[in-house]
């Protein structure tokens, strides 16, 4: 039934001691991506003040890599401007975790999607437009198909 998955020490650290788990009351933006069907749901809460991400929290239903990427993603965006946070790609999250097994790359995509979805929510709430930000994709399967077509 199961297979051994080799995780880096950093992934194991962020899975075992995840940073920024929780919720933010009256968050500036909340984004939830993924679906229970494929086994990963990620929710990121943002507290944004004067265009700066003051705090970020997450809740994740998913495997070790899903938890670790959520944890790392929140770490990477705290203190950044909205524009800088948009540049935190799945690759950046993966690199910061010293890599992910190939079957787990989609988890890092989910983290990127979750940040974007939370920022989108923030933009909607405040009636602003953020350059380069697209509305969140409802289903991660579609995202994967998209990336598959892109040849990544």
């Amino acid at each position: 039934m199961s297979q051994v998955i080799e995780y880096s020490e950093k992934v194991m650290d962020h899975f075992t001691n995840p940073r920024n788990v929780g919720e933010i009351e009256e968050a500036s933006g909340v984004g939830t991506v993924g679906n229970a069907k494929c086994g990963d749901i990620m929710r990121i809460y943002l507290d944004i003040e004067n265009d700066i991400i003051k705090d970020a929290k997450f809740k994740t239903f998913g495997c070790g890599a899903a938890v670790a990427t959520s944890s790392m993603a929140t770490e990477l965006i705290i203190g950044k401007t909205v524009k800088e946070a948009l540049l935190v790609t799945n690759k950046a999250v993966m690199e910061a975790l010293d890599g992910l097994p190939p079957v787990k790359v989609h988890c890092s995509l989910l983290a990127e999607e979750a940040i974007h979805a939370a920022l989108w929510d923030y933009a909607q709430k405040n009636n602003i437009e953020i350059d380069g930000l697209k509305p969140p994709v409802e289903d991660i399967d579609e995202t994967e198909e998209f990336y598959a077509m892109e040849g990544e």
Binding site: S2, I5, A36, G39, F61, G62, C63, V67
Partner: protein
Amino acid sequence: MSKVIYLDNAATTKVDHDVFEAMKPYFEELYGNASSIYTFAGQATKAVDNARKIVADYLGAKPKEIYFTGGGSESDNWALKATALAKNKKGKHIITTTIEHHAILHTCEYLEKFGYEISYIDVDENGVVKLDELKKAIREDTILISVMFANNEIGTIEPIKEIGEIAHEHDIIFHTDAVQAYGHVPINVDELNIDILSASGHKINGPKGVGIMYLRESVKLDSFIHGGGQERGKRAGTHNTPGIVGFGKATEIAVSKMNKRYEYESKLRDYLIEQVLEKVPYTRLNGHRTNRLSNNANFSFRFVEGEALLIMLDQKGICGSSGSACTSGSLDPSHVLLAIGLPHEIAHGSLRLTLSDETTKEDIDYVVEQLSIIVERLRSMSPLYEDFIKEDK
């Protein structure tokens, strides 16, 4: 990590010390080829014959109906592919179930490429094959029914005797993948109407890489591995003498302590089930409550994902397995859990614990304690649980 609590005995088992001792001489001392004529090899030949007799006695079969193979998957492949080839003049229709092991399902998919039609029979919510559907699926051109004896994930034991009866009423060959049941429950091939049976050594405290196929004398199948004349020309390749000896010894031990072991394990299993359901909320047991393998317990913990659960259990020295997609490298969770009607989300949160007769009550208490802490911790991180609690309020 100090102590390891191994609760994955459906995946593989520890080689029994007596089995290992029985195998040892056939590596360095009695290494002769069991097919050779000289006296030196004679002991190897005798050892292979002896193992064959032990297996035949357990199954109520004739020794010449037992063939040693390289394991359960080989036996399954042989049974399906050779029956397909032998009977293709009669028809190209095979009936199996939705919850078989991949050694059966993927072999069936392979046969479909060659024009074979496969009917996959559904199971009920406990994982029991629907006999009325099975009967309805039978056609003029049905050549084989293959149903597993007991399911490897949820432990449910299938109505093998009834299925065999149905097959024989229609003059159809009946194969059962008995990898999980062999050595755990009494099996008599005549009473249970079995024509072909697959079993594996490493599931019964025997060595890996050796299995058997029982083939009823009246059923004529071709060889699967072609080459030398071993196994009466049906399975080429120099005999794996130590492996075969180990298989025989493991069978002998399993049969001798079957009742005692069943009693011990099922009592402990029931205790585990009872404790987990009591101490961990929003949990369900998968598989039949009573009609299941004595060592199998399979749970689904809502709002929690299986791989995360396995890693955290591993950090506490507990070995289990899960039907979550994340542990299989695919996007879909276990086909067995989906077949018993679980939604994807619940299937992702599954945990299989399979005991042995060395598992103790203290082990179970420790596992239940750790499990409830870990599940609670993962739930505190789960957006699904957060939504559930908010809706509940």
